[in-house]
Amino acid sequence: MAPAAATAAQPTPPSLSLPPSQFARLQPHAYLLAHLSPPASSNQPSIRANGRAPSQFRVTSANTGSLTHTNGSAVVRLGDTTAVCGVRAEILHTEDIASWSVSRPPPASSSTPANKRRKLTDPTAKPSEKSDGNNKEDADESHIQDFNLLVPNLSLSTGCAPGFIPGAPPSALAQSLSHQILSLLHSTRLVRAEDLRIWYQPPNLGPEELERHNESEQMDVDAPQGDAGAEKNREIKAFWVLYIDVMIVSLAGNPFDAAWAAVLAALRDTRLPRAWWDVDNGMVVCSDAVSEARKLSLQGLPVSSSFGVFEADAASGWRAEVIPDAEEERALDDSSRKGNQRRWILADPDGYEEGLSQERVCVVVDKEQGGKGKTVVVKLEKNGGWAVDAKELKALVDISAQRWEDIKQILEQC
């Protein structure tokens, strides 16, 4: 910090000199620019005001399982931004779902026309295993989405930053972050619907009991008997609903990365108790034995990395009489870049840098086969400007892939 501060204070004459902290407040843009493009004479490297290199992330740490009343919890610190995530599992009985009897796929044992058709198409689908798998996955996702089985909410009204009034309804930022987490959970299919289902396998009934069963459940008596039939009698009695609550305890920029890492770590930590349908009580009952509880089997490990673009002269494009198109802009850029750089892509912007960058990029990547396979871009969001083009996006994806390795290591250690 000290040498950087010296460069900031150098150009001003002694009588008007300001301490760096005040210069940073009064002229934030010039302050960051002075750090990123120091005068050639000073022989200083281009470095951000917080001492990081442009593509360097803040020190990240994670800690899981410290909250008592949760099924899974995590605290993630990303520099000075802290997110606490707690996952609570509650039970949604299918009898409470208004549309359940209509929307559920008819049990294979019944002889409704729809099911007959399904049965007819089944053999054709069998040879191609892949399409079958896809169908199954579609059903998976629709259960999670249709019945709102994942309920993420992010709260900023914890006094995390001066701008957010506690007690007020969630700000636009909090709402948008909650929604981004939800849509990312849905689109990555991180949580498998199968983990959230609570099945009930009716016992292999004698004929008279089957009749009694039939009265209550409207089952067809012509159900195929035997083991295969019993297997197909299995029905979903309830779902686990995961309430994923993220409290941003301290906010110093880049809340999404911190919140998503906390959600990821908490879900990895989540244990669901063994649950079964208790016929006598007519409710789902769980076992409290830790040995019987199981962890969620998450699909993949999507890691999010955010970037901000800092421009030396953001309005130059707008001030031009003819707004340059992308090609001209790049040519202009290259020619001017010989002298000095005009824009910087800053990884993991802190609160100060966030206030100075219009353009944001968020990349969520995953790697196949636990890091050995190729990198998959799960989500790519870019808004606020035109500085980042296809070439730079590719570089950002590479940085994000490196970041994926770091986060994986951090999550596996905690």
Binding site: H69, E90, I91, L92, N153, G159, P166, G167, H179, D245
Partner: protein, 324 residues
């Protein structure tokens, strides 16, 4: 009426998990009640650290030491039902800042306190919107702090104190049905923690105070001894999960150097306490003295945390850095 600004769960609502062991007869689980391992006048250890939230003017994080049963359950987990819980909370102070133009003139600092439980803080899921008990806690905290802050030094300014409770104390042991002695006893421990943490955060924000104020809890508990007889006894810093019946409890906010109490919250019937034979105090006097003793204990932790905060500040201040 659904909350349109949040993501709501299934419209029909969900039910918390019911564990098979809690459906069994009470005799099976009666053995599982956590036992108090501390002496009646021994407090739990408090972890208190200031300055963890740099975006705030002042901040503090407070955590109680987990009880022996909880620590055992964490190190070798057998049951998914936690035996008890330990308080964890984060406190931030923003200000002093100018009041909005629309506010009426105030010659003093306007103090706003805000306490919110995280949805996962308690055994039962909490809502996102503050309920009456949280507002009540906020009012108690404000009363406790108003007597400490030298409010005349900041006319026309406001001070926001926000506390997020990440893990609350239980009101009773989970295996107990609510009974006649039942009251939200856990709230009293939470309030004591809030007072101590808020005091640390206010000092961290360098707001002038008369003294550091600490919260303390004492309770009269009637635990059954071996001969099956319940003898009401005075205990300090009670964890409600460890006691079968708490007859009454008291929280105080106490300033040791002035020997002044700014807030008392006493609940329950304190007349049944069996004190020593030569003790002439009435039940509630004993309870208050106990709570003050507990607050003195918390004060020593608080003083240490504030000293750390001051050292950090001295290191940051211009000129102070040169000495290091």
């Amino acid at each position: 009426m659904t909350d349109r600004r949040r993501i709501n769960g299934p419209p029909s609502g969900t039910r918390p998990a019911v564990f098979a062991s809690s459906l069994n007869s009470a005799s099976d689980i009666a053995t599982g009640r956590p036992q108090r391992q501390r002496q009646p006048n021994e407090l739990r250890k408090i972890f208190l650290k200031t300055g963890l939230i740099p975006s705030a003017s002042g901040s503090a994080y407070l955590e109680y030491e987990p009880s022996a049963s909880l620590a055992a359950a964490r190190s070798s987990p057998k049951s998914l039902i936690p035996p008890s819980s330990a308080l964890k909370l984060a406190c931030t102070v923003h200000g002093p800042k100018p009041l909005p133009r629309s506010a009426t003139f105030s010659p003093n600092l306007v103090l706003t306190t805000h306490i919110k439980y995280a949805p996962f803080a308690a055994r039962k899921r909490k809502g996102h919107i503050r309920d009456a008990s949280e507002r009540d806690l906020g009012v108690h905290l404000e009363t406790a702090l108003r007597g400490v802050i030298v409010a005349e030094r900041w006319p026309k300014s406001g001070l926001d104190i926000t506390i997020t409770i990440l893990e609350a104390e239980d009101d009773r042991w989970w295996g107990d049905a609510p009974d006649s002695h039942d009251a939200p006893w856990g709230m009293m421990n939470v309030l004591a923690g809030c007072i101590t943490a808020a005091s640390a955060a206010i000092s961290d924000a360098r707001i002038d105070c008369l003294d550091l104020i600490a919260g303390g809890v004492a309770a009269i508990v009637a635990d059954e001894s071996e001969d099956g007889e319940a003898k009401p006894k005075l205990m300090l810093d009670t964890d409600p999960a460890e006691h079968k019946a708490i007859l009454s409890a008291c929280v105080v906010a106490y300033m040791p150097s002035r020997d002044e109490i700014t807030e008392i919250w006493l609940k329950g019937d304190s007349s049944k306490a069996l004190l020593g034979p030569d003790d002439k105090r009435s039940g509630h006097e004993a309870l208050l003295d106990g709570a003050v003793d507990a607050a003195r204990g918390a004060h020593s932790v608080l003083a240490e945390a504030v000293r750390e905060s001051a050292e950090r500040f001295a290191g940051l201040a211009p000129g102070g850095g040169a000495t290091q």
